[in-house]
Amino acid sequence: MGNIWNIVILRPITNFLIVLSDVLFGNFGLAVIALTIIINLILLPLTIKQMKTTKKTAELQPKLQALQKKYANDQQALAQAQMQLYKESGISPTGCLLPMFIQMPVWVALYQAIMRVMAVYPESFLNLSSMVYSWDIIFKALPLKTTFLGMNMSTSNFIMAILVGLSMYLQTKMTTNTSAGNNPQMQQQQQMMQVMMPAMFVFLAMTLPSGLSLYWIVNAVIRMVMQYFYTGWGGLQPWVDKIAGILHIKKKDTPQTPVSSKKSGNKGSKGPISKK
């Protein structure tokens, strides 16, 4: 199993990262950014599917709540009605999980590749030898110069850890209103996630090489960009409005407000047109 993992996922990603670093002027930071973008592009169809399902699920929330009220005393009838609703809406309630399960190994492999090529531990560098292809470009590029913007990417960095927390928070906040609808329980859970996840990642970033932090930051930014084009500012809309107000930016009319924002009462929120 370990061998299959190495041959199919880990070795290609590791070698690609090394080649990218060499091509991008021996700059490890740029290589991490480029690889994160490329992998996100490859996984884009899955990500869009995931977003689509999440959005549709959010749109169903008022109807689901109505059903919960209607069948408060009959769980079986409630389950049947919910299933019927999902079926009619053409979504699978577990649809957002499959893309996540497919993407997860890639993220883990990317993490492992970053850890290996940075030679954080002597053992990981020794084992890198068995991971690399016998290409001249690979041997010429190793070991990678792990300095980026004056920071050593192979050691933890406080600023990067803070940036990880900030980007994660913004990303989580952005997705909040798009999926919670008016379900107070779900909103409460999401509010907790908004704080817990970034806090956990800050903690990790402070103990792990900042090359990994760079990957998390870039990944969060890419996710936010994709989210913006799909559902707008989402939970960040009130902040965007405030900032726009402060900066006296003339508001432009937008044809459609993101569904979730509208539902949570953020009237006048801005965002690009959602695709149907």
């Binding site: 919910q82 999980l97 996540m100 850890m115 002597p122 016998s134 103990t207």
Partner: protein
């Protein structure tokens, strides 16, 4: 897919929990990748009656050369600031990991730790002293210590090699290279040869650290240089063996391969010179045996595991181990190889020979084996 809402919730909770576990595993550096847990690979230091083993637990163990019994209390090599908590990957409470061979000078044994500290201990009283090698950066030390009397020469990941007085632990001089120095320096006739990850080998005046010459290869250098009869042999990550004139660093010959065998991976382990041959293990699993005078390939032996452990020799016989744990002997007069022992354990640590005994420090299940070099039988072993 008609799943009741409760089931969906359960799946979602399970997925979220799985994600959390993966994130925590990633954080701990343990995910699908036990290799990142530091094991250390320090070859033993051989004293008069004892051998000194720096274990992965960060303990310096003193064992009798004859039977492997402990002859002194263990010494914990650390400063008490070892990582703790869930992210320590089982490192909590351990001493600092040691990669280089400790250096013995009379009653004093010096150990360089991964924490960037140099520790000295009295063998008889265990009185200790320590110093942070690089006060500003606190970078790790991977290479071993080489000494000349009271002076210690220590390579550091900050790119410098330091000369320290082992009694006062004060710095005599330091020399900065362009990248990490993981290879143990070599002292020969007042010249210190330092190999760096910046692809260069430097010849320094050991008394004051001034550079005599430097030579650039096309890849980082992990293996220590070998010096013999006025020639410096350097094995580099550029998959080339370079023979340099020790006087000025000019190239005598280099070996990039022949029609019979080509190095396909890094040269990691330190090569050895036996009679008129240079034996250089490559990570592709090939032992290259070259004629030192011309750099021609005399023999090559291929194995199905990488060779990362540095060989030793007695007379015309070379002893080396594959990473898969097999100990081999090679008689250079006949070119015959014999499998001496299969430890079935990872061996990354360099071998050490003392008389008829070869000391093998295994990594997967950490232990020190004393092997009779004539027949490959284990005389004794100490399991950490």
């Amino acid at each position: 897919m008609n799943l009741p809402m409760k089931k969906i919730r359960k799946i979602q909770i399970a997925a979220a929990s799985l994600l959390l576990v993966v994130v925590l595993m990633i954080g701990a550096g343990c995910s699908c990748n036990a290799q990142v847990t530091q094991a250390g690979w320090a070859p033993v230091a051989v004293g008069e009656d004892s051998v000194y083993l720096a274990t992965a637990e960060g303990t310096l163990v003193t064992l009798s050369k004859i039977n492997g019994n402990k002859t002194a209390e263990d010494i914990k090599v650390n400063t008490g600031n070892t990582a703790a908590g869930i992210l320590s990957c089982g490192m909590a409470g351990r001493g600092t990991v040691v990669y280089g061979t400790p250096y013995i000078n009379g009653d004093l044994i010096s150990v360089a730790g991964y924490d960037g500290m140099v520790y000295t201990y009295s063998i008889t009283t265990h009185l200790s002293n320590s110093v942070q090698l690089d006060e500003d950066k606190g970078m790790s030390i991977i290479g071993g210590i080489v000494g000349d009397g009271d002076i210690l020469y220590i390579p550091c990941s900050d790119g410098c090699v330091y000369a320290l007085n082992s009694l006062s632990l004060t710095r005599e001089w330091s020399f900065e290279t362009g990248d990490k120095v993981w290879a143990t320096p070599v002292l020969d006739n007042g010249t210190l040869y330092v190999a760096s990850f910046d692809s260069k080998v430097y010849a320094l005046d050991a008394s004051d650290g001034t550079m005599k010459w430097s030579y650039a290869t096309n890849g980082p250098i992990m293996a220590s240089p070998v010096v013999k009869d006025g020639v410096v042999y350097v094995c580099s990550f550029d998959r080339t063996i370079h023979a340099l004139n020790a006087s000025d660093g000019s190239l005598k010959w280099n070996f990039t391969g022949s029609s019979e065998a080509v190095p396909r991976k890094w040269f990691w382990a330190t090569p050895i010179i036996v009679s008129d041959y240079l034996c250089a293990p490559n990570m592709d699993g090939t032992m290259f045996v070259l004629k030192v005078e011309t750099g021609e390939l005399a023999y090559s032996f291929e194995y199905d595991a990488q060779l990362s452990s540095s060989p030793v020799a007695v007379g015309d016989i070379v002893y080396y181990a594959t990473e898969a744990g097999v100990l081999w002997s090679l008689d250079l007069t006949t070119g015959a190889t014999v499998q001496l022992h299969d430890f079935e354990q990872t061996i990354d640590s360099g071998l050490v020979v003392d008389g008829d005994v070869i000391f093998v420090h295994t990594q997967t299940k950490e232990a020190l084996y004393a092997v009779n070099r004539a027949n490959g039988l284990v005389s004794w072993y100490y399991e950490v």
